[in-house]
Amino acid sequence: MKRIAGGVHLGYVDASLMTANKGGSVGILARVARRDHLAFTRLVEAHDADMARLCFVICGDLELARDATQNAWHRLWRDPPRLNDDRRLRSWLLTVAANEARQLARRRRRGAILEHRSARPEPAPRPDLGIERVDLERVLDRISPDERELLGLRYVLGMSSPEIATQLGLSAEGVRTRLRRLLARLRLEMDR
């Protein structure tokens, strides 16, 4: 993954997808449907890191985030979506991975592991976060997975409101409103 100064990943492999289409060849998704391992690997290289980061923001657990991402890849391999545009694939992958992360987190919350989570020591403040005396994990624990997904899409993956709106099936204004409310709540939580 290439990175820019702000720490945002550049999905450079999208260019390779376009190259595949420019050449008049079959889209990468169709190639995956035909069990083209190279095409599948290229997609993993392009999207796995972003999917895993989003999943981690949603569920707050490294193991679950990896499982959710893996499940999304498994689903793509077994049952590729019928998308009429390869560029929609990123959106599809992020959505499936996010749904998996939510479901796994929900399942884990119901299970005995909850005790382990609640018993874990409070993490020490991390000066590298740039927000003084703020325990980001504590704040994330207090908001819903849907809200964490919104934060992840906007501030980790760097998507714009219109992009998020398309991703979540909302209006851009609706996304902006939710973000405004969420930021106000975060500020409140952080001030506590």
Partner: protein, 196 residues
């Protein structure tokens, strides 16, 4: 994709949140090689365990008519049934007034290429529903005109196929059709099966 969008400049607080979240999410443990992911996928069992519906709901797959109870049909233009074509598949268009979706339930799938109910669509984008075969059902955002006529936010596009029981989790609690909550009938064994 970048964090800075011309019309969405971040406030200092947002920038702090973004930096903190990026630092939080950048874990080396999350980075895997593509080969590892691909190997895991190939090694995984082939069953559809990731998105199997509960048995009771799966048993209701054949009850399409009952499954659609509570969804009001549209009248299209004149007396024609409202239809929309997506990716070559013709769907019937209904008002999804009894359906509710959370963010993340819907994923953009494509565009309506042809319809006789243009006025009902806010735009031509259609969304696949998580866990629902897109050939069976899709949704689209409905126009203000449609919303003021019958309420709700979405149009339901029902495709060909045996049923739409996968939609059961998306009905509003007070509108869940019987087919979604009814237990599957117990199959009686023939006499010759007997008990050991």
């Amino acid at each position: 994709m970048t964090t800075d969008h011309p019309h969405e400049e971040m406030t200092p607080f947002e920038r702090q949140v973004a930096d903190a979240l990026q630092s939080y999410a950048d874990r080396p443990e999350l980075l895997r090689s593509a080969g590892e992911v691909a190997a895991n996928v190939r090694a995984a069992p082939s069953g559809r365990r990731w998105w199997l519906m509960p048995a009771g709901i799966a048993a209701a797959v054949l009850l399409i008519a009952a499954g659609l109870a509570g969804i009001r049909g549209l009248e299209g233009s004149g007396l024609q049934v409202a239809r929309a074509t997506v990716d070559g598949v013709i769907y019937g268009v209904s008002a999804g007034t009894s359906l509710a979706f959370a963010p993340g339930d819907l994923m953009p799938m494509g565009q309506v290429s042809e319809t006789n109910a243009e006025d009902y669509f806010a735009d031509r984008t259609v969304y696949a529903i998580n866990g629902v075969d897109p050939r069976r059902a899709l949704v689209a955002r409905q126009s203000n005109q449609a919303t003021s006529a019958w309420g709700g936010e979405y149009l339901l596009l029902v495709g060909p196929g045996p049923g739409t029981a996968d939609l059961c989790p998306y009905y509003e609690p007070e509108a869940v059709p019987d087919s979604c909550v009814r237990e599957p009938p117990v199959r009686e064994l023939p006499d010759w099966a007997g008990s050991p």
